[in-house]
């Protein structure tokens, strides 16, 4: 009977979940939780190529370990800009974890929390060996039906490469979204961003279908198409390239290995990319991409 009731619910009640509107871009000084940054103390001089990486660091409990791991890796040690998701900061630790990591990597940084945690907060960070400017934050639309909805933000900065201003943005999207709402969550800034632009993040493009906050396995979980594929199609429709779409899985859990993370570019020439696997310090793998100018 319970199963039958669930089927009834799916027949009659499963319409698209409404999204609560987000905000426009705003300067980080207007963010709801205070940002921490040091944008331009480090300057390694002019560059004519760029390597960026997106990395969900799963709270980065030991930021120095992350920095040491990055420096020890051939691919990651050449990264100019890291765009990090799921990084935290606790008052008891004195400084933000992003700041500790940036100091160990000799990089500028910005950390913007999206949500408060017990004794600290949780958010996004960008670490860069190039000076950064124009830091902005956007509060993204969020689902009305998700239990304990969290604020989702986009964090953006500008850097200069080969005398061109390039905008970089990072996001960490909700897990419990179907593709329509996932697109709605990023659409406010994807659709309005001007080239040259790099968008990265943990898009959480999991293979499940969600009925409210419940995952419902359907045949597309194994037969396709995946949310990751459809998300790339959406970006491409708005003039972006999806150069890391062949990366394979970037996140590992008991439920399986999924492609949740990616990099999208607009008005730029992407080159090589890679996924650094088996670092053992996060449930996600970092994805890096070279860009030429």
């Amino acid at each position: 009977m319970v199963r039958f009731a669930l089927a009834l619910l799916l027949v009659f009640g499963a319409c698209q979940v409404e999204m609560v509107p987000g905000s426009d871009w705003m300067d980080v000084s207007e963010a709801r939780l205070p940002a921490v940054h040091s944008l331009d103390l480090i300057d390694t001089g002019p560059v004519d190529a760029l390597r960026v990486a997106t990395y969900n660091v799963e709270f980065a409990p030991d930021p120095e370990l992350f920095a040491d791991t990055i420096l020890a890796d051939d691919d990651l040690s050449k990264v100019d800009v890291f765009l990090l998701q799921e990084i935290e900061s606790y008052r008891s630790e004195g400084v933000a974890r992003a700041q500790t990591m940036a100091a160990s990597l000799d990089m500028n940084f910005i950390y913007v929390p999206s949500n408060s945690e017990d004794g600290g907060d949780h958010g996004l960070a960008i670490l860069s060996s190039l000076p950064m400017s124009n830091p902005r934050v956007m509060y993204l639309p969020k689902s009305k039906r998700i239990i304990r909805p969290r604020n989702r933000i986009a964090l953006s900065v500008d850097i200069v490469v080969d005398a061109k201003v390039v905008t970089l943005a990072t996001v960490h999207l909700d897990v419990r979204l179907n593709i329509g709402n996932r697109i709605s969550q990023v659409h406010p800034f994807v659709s309005t961003a001007a080239a040259p632009m790099i968008i990265t993040g943990d898009y959480n493009t999991n293979p499940y279908h969600w009925s409210g906050s419940q995952p419902v396995l359907t045949e597309t979980t194994t037969i396709g198409p995946t949310q990751a594929e459809l998300f790339d199609e959406y970006f491409e429709a708005y003039g972006y390239l999806a150069p890391t779409k062949g990366s394979g899985p970037t996140q590992h859990s008991l439920a399986g290995d999924f492609r949740l993370d990616g990099i999208h570019t607009k008005g730029l020439s992407p080159g090589d990319y890679g996924v650094v696997r088996n670092l053992g310090i996060s449930d996600h793998d970092p994805v890096w991409l070279d860009l030429t100018f």
Partner: protein, 172 residues
């Protein structure tokens, strides 16, 4: 229109299940059973939850002989603005049978169509088709009412997923 079709199919599943639930075994015409109580009616229709038809579906089975049956299940449902349809033929084999109880295994392809509508102007949404397969083992009870419970593996180009399902139907 698709909404209306989805709703009608949903109502169809509910109506069929209701008819099955209120019907009493043995009320209808002569009972073609063996002396051991085994049903020899070859046809059955059923409504199922999960199983071979996505979230829920309607199926027809025909017993070719004492050991083999063929089944076809179709489904169509809407899930948060996405439309899914499946069609799954299969060939089943009775591994064990005693009186009204049977253990079976079946194998067959699963065709799936998914349509995602777009919330934004420049991405048109997506309509896609895919083919996977499913292998199951299940228990069947047959006595004018046909009840099946199965465990399966659904496989496709993205790997394999454990699956399962229950169905209730009538035979004739």
């Amino acid at each position: 229109m698709v909404d209306a079709l989805s709703r009608r199919l949903g109502l169809g599943v509910i109506a069929l299940a209701t008819v099955i639930c209120v019907s009493k075994p043995g009320r209808a015409s002569p009972n073609p059973t063996t002396p051991g109580g085994e049903s020899q009616r070859p046809h059955s229709v059923h409504a199922e939850y999960l199983g071979r038809g996505g979230l829920y579906g309607i199926g027809y089975s025909y017993n070719l002989d004492r050991y083999f049956m063929v089944t076809a299940v179709a489904s169509f449902y809407k899930l948060e603005g996405e439309y899914h349809a499946t069609a799954s033929p299969s060939l089943g084999y009775y591994l064990f049978r005693r009186s009204r109880h049977r253990i079976y295994s079946d194998l067959g392809p699963r065709y799936a169509m998914a349509h995602m509508s777009s919330p934004v102007p420049r991405w048109p949404g997506s309509t896609s088709h895919g083919l996977g397969g499913q292998i199951s083992v299940g228990y069947e009870y047959r006595n004018r009412v046909v009840i099946r419970n199965s465990l399966s593996v659904l496989f496709g180009k993205y790997g394999a997923t454990p699956w399962g399902g229950s169905s209730i139907g009538v035979e004739w």
